[in-house]
Symmetry: C2
């Protein structure tokens, strides 16, 4: 499978809005940072808006975080963007007349869900504020090297 970068790009987008709050936050400018197209950015913002993480104004470059960064967890971004897709997928079509094929979904679904829940619990512990803080720390390291 081609791995989706939507989740990663959404975090990028939100961090950008915070760090570059005093610039013109057009979808073009944000797209230039992510190195994608403005339409992709607007699509992601649409999802984030529907999830209540972002407010936008049609016609105006004015995206704004709907909550303090510290109250937006990576998990809430994940749900906003990929909430309907499991990290691990059970093969939905197996032979029901076989002992294995007829029961594997029920069994695996449960173990997969537990693994995903464990990952989600970790994502819930990190907020976008942590991400932004770390980005600034990394940037400071780079600056110090020069």
């Amino acid at each position: 499978m081609r791995v989706s970068t939507r989740f990663s790009d959404s975090i990028h987008l939100l961090a950008y809005i915070k760090i570059y709050a005093d610039t013109r936050l057009t979808s073009d400018a944000i797209a230039a940072s992510i190195e994608t197209s403005p339409v992709v950015v607007r699509r992601l913002m649409s999802k984030l808006r529907q999830a209540g993480l972002l407010t936008t104004t049609p016609g105006t470059a004015q995206p704004a975080l709907a909550k303090p960064l510290s109250q937006i967890s990576l998990l809430s971004v994940f749900y906003a963007i990929e909430g309907d897709k499991p990290l691990l997928a059970v093969d939905p079509k197996t032979n029901p007349d076989c002992i294995v094929g007829g029961n594997i979904q029920t069994v695996l679904k449960q173990y997969y869900q537990e693994a995903q829940t464990a990952a989600e619990a970790r994502l819930a512990k990190t907020s976008l504020q942590d991400v932004v803080d770390n980005i600034l720390v990394e940037q400071a390291k780079k600056d110090a090297r020069q």
Copy 2:
């Protein structure tokens, strides 16, 4: 992305080999249970063999588990099949001249790894023996209903 069912199918395959040990374990028979093609089954078995989980004999329908089921964790199967692919992918191509674009990978990679490690820790706790046991329990429930 179309979500891969290789991991799920591999667990299926190994459970099948155990539960139907006294039947002819041709790739055709296993494929019929997974409802896929024999070639797909042989491809999965090839990976499992390379990972030391399975032994096979060219020309003969004789796949056998290389270790007791209780010593094969879901995680080891996951590594055998999808070990090189992360559950969450960081966008590898962002603008390095931007504070966000230039540091997001470093920062996110770490959080993503922690989430994946949490999921893997959960997968490591479950063995194929657990899966087989559960499959048989589910089957017994079905039988009791009839």
